[in-house]
Amino acid sequence: MATVEERVKAITAQVLKLNVEDIKLEHSFTADLGAESVQSIELVAMFEEEFGIEMDEDAALSVEIVGDAIKFITDVCKEQGVEVEE
């Protein structure tokens, strides 16, 4: 199974129309990867679908960095009993 990092990067690449290898852990979704506000909403929706979780919108949308998103999603998966490869 792909890791959380791989899955987050794959979704991010798909939504923002980027190459996966261009996405770094330290990248900001908005400043570095060019996500507009509508795309942020789409990213949260796609992460929820990918991992089968429900995220609090306010908390999820306050995450700005790719690495932080991976940690945030991993934590939510644990809280909601969803098994993932770290």
Partner: protein, 426 residues
């Protein structure tokens, strides 16, 4: 004698969604006043006691001076209980008659006369116990009283109710200021311009087909045309509006563009061009420039409305526009289909074509689909900002009430979100 108004039947409340999500049924408006105002004017009680769903009790307590959800109000006086949806003009029960409970064919209480001497018990744990008690202790009689069945009934009766309300108010004449030239068509006795109103030059007031009542401190800007029957609420501003017949607006609304046969609650804005017809708009709504709704289908067939997002209800009318909940915001160029339902707190970003007919409460409609958007927190921030601009306060009680509505409306919203995601995943 104390009038008791009870709003405790979820199935009945549902027929008045999304407008009843944030207010008791009797606060819905038709004509120049609310349903409660009409019943109070008809029955003339010494006092009124209200029983509302628990989740809105705190907010409602802040809005009225009478008792809310206070069981003590059921003792100490003769009571008359009236279903808040009974049409006041048809309420012909003598209010000082003997104790009895009037039921419709489904067993719903339409009214109850309760002499305090006829009640064995004077204290009750909750309103349901009180209702069960009067039904079992007092004589039951079957009765037929006309009631409002759906929210669009109010829209369709609005013009007629304005005419009735105007006659009952018994006012006419020009007490506000009119800057000439102002054209008044029809009989001047069918126009009332209240004190503090400012009517700018180049305004037409057309009372030929119905009365026009412009309430205190309203301001009518140049090139506005107001056709009666029409009620313009206190402190509202019409900005060059084509205000067609049958509108009830205000208080504190800002209205431009073309509006016809619509009811608009307080503090809502439709500043710019765009058509709103046969619609019911809640409070604190902002309709962006060129927001337009259809109120007539191309084939002239009856309009249906999807209150729950799946089951279409035939309104029985060829003219029904949009039902727009409190705090809704639409972007520029929003196109609303005939018989649209836009839930409370929904935020719409237009897509250049008519929206789906049902947008759930708290939905963020973005890129053509219902999403969770930025969540309810952001919607509350917007509501807070909008209210502060009019010197009103967003209170913790309001937040609790809307949190309850958020939970109540979650199943329908989540279905729409899931449907939207399927589109995204494609």
């Amino acid at each position: 004698m104390r009038l008791i108004l009870i709003d405790n039947l979820p199935d009945v409340r549902f027929n008045f969604y999304p407008l009843s999500l944030g207010r008791p049924l009797w606060e819905l408006r038709c004509g120049m006043s609310s349903l409660a105002d009409k019943l109070i004017a008809k029955i003339k009680p010494d006092s009124v006691a209200y029983f509302v769903p628990d989740y809105m009790a705190e907010v409602y307590k802040d809005q009225v001076n009478e008792s809310v959800n206070d069981m003590a109000s059921l003792a100490g006086d003769d009571l008359i209980l009236v279903d808040p949806l009974v049409k006041a003009e048809n309420f012909d029960i003598p209010v000082k008659g003997k104790s009895e409970v009037g039921l419709d064919e489904d067993g719903r209480i339409l009214y109850a006369q309760i002499k305090k001497v006829d009640m064995k018990k004077s204290t009750f744990d909750d309103i349901e116990e009180f209702i069960a008690s009067i039904k079992s202790e007092l004589p039951n009689v079957s009765c037929k009283l006309a009631t409002w069945e759906y929210v669009w009934d109010l829209i369709l009766a609005n013009g007629e109710q304005i005419t009735t309300g105007f006659a009952a108010a018994g006012r006419h004449g020009f007490e506000g200021s009119l800057e000439e030239p102002v054209a008044v068509r029809g009989d001047r006795k069918d126009v009332y311009v209240a004190p503090g109103v400012k009517v700018h030059p180049m305004v037409t007031i057309d009372a030929e087909h119905g009365p026009v009542y412009i309430d205190e401190r309203a301001e009518i800007h140049p090139f506005t045309r107001i056709e009666g029957p029409c009620y313009i609420g206190k402190d509202s501003i019409l900005l060059g509006a084509k205000c067609r017949e049958g509108n009830s607006i205000g208080p504190f609304c800002r209205i431009g563009g073309e509006v016809e046969e619509s009811i608009i609650h307080g503090y809502s804005n439709k500043y710019h061009d765009g058509f709103l017809g046969h619609s019911y708009v809640g409070e604190w709504v902002n309709l962006g420039a060129l927001t337009t709704n259809s109120d007539l289908k191309n084939d002239y067939s009856n309009v249906s409305v999807m209150m729950d997002g799946r089951r279409a209800i035939d309104t029985g009318s060829t003219k029904v526009g949009s039902l727009i909940g409190d705090h809704v915001k639409t972007s520029i160029g929003t196109l609303l289909n005939t018989g649209s339902y836009v839930g409370a707190m929904a935020l719409i970003m237009a897509i250049g074509k008519p929206l789906p007919k049902h947008i759930p409460s708290f939905a963020w409609f973005i890129e053509g689909i219902v999403t969770k958007g930025f969540g309810k927190g952001k919607l509350y921030e917007t509501a807070k900002t909008a209210m502060s601009r009019r010197k009103c306060q967003w209170t913790p009680a309001m937040e609790s009430m809307w949190n309850a509505v958020f939970e109540m409306t979650a199943p329908v919203r989540m279905k729409a979100i899931k449907k939207g995601r399927k589109t995204l995943l494609k």
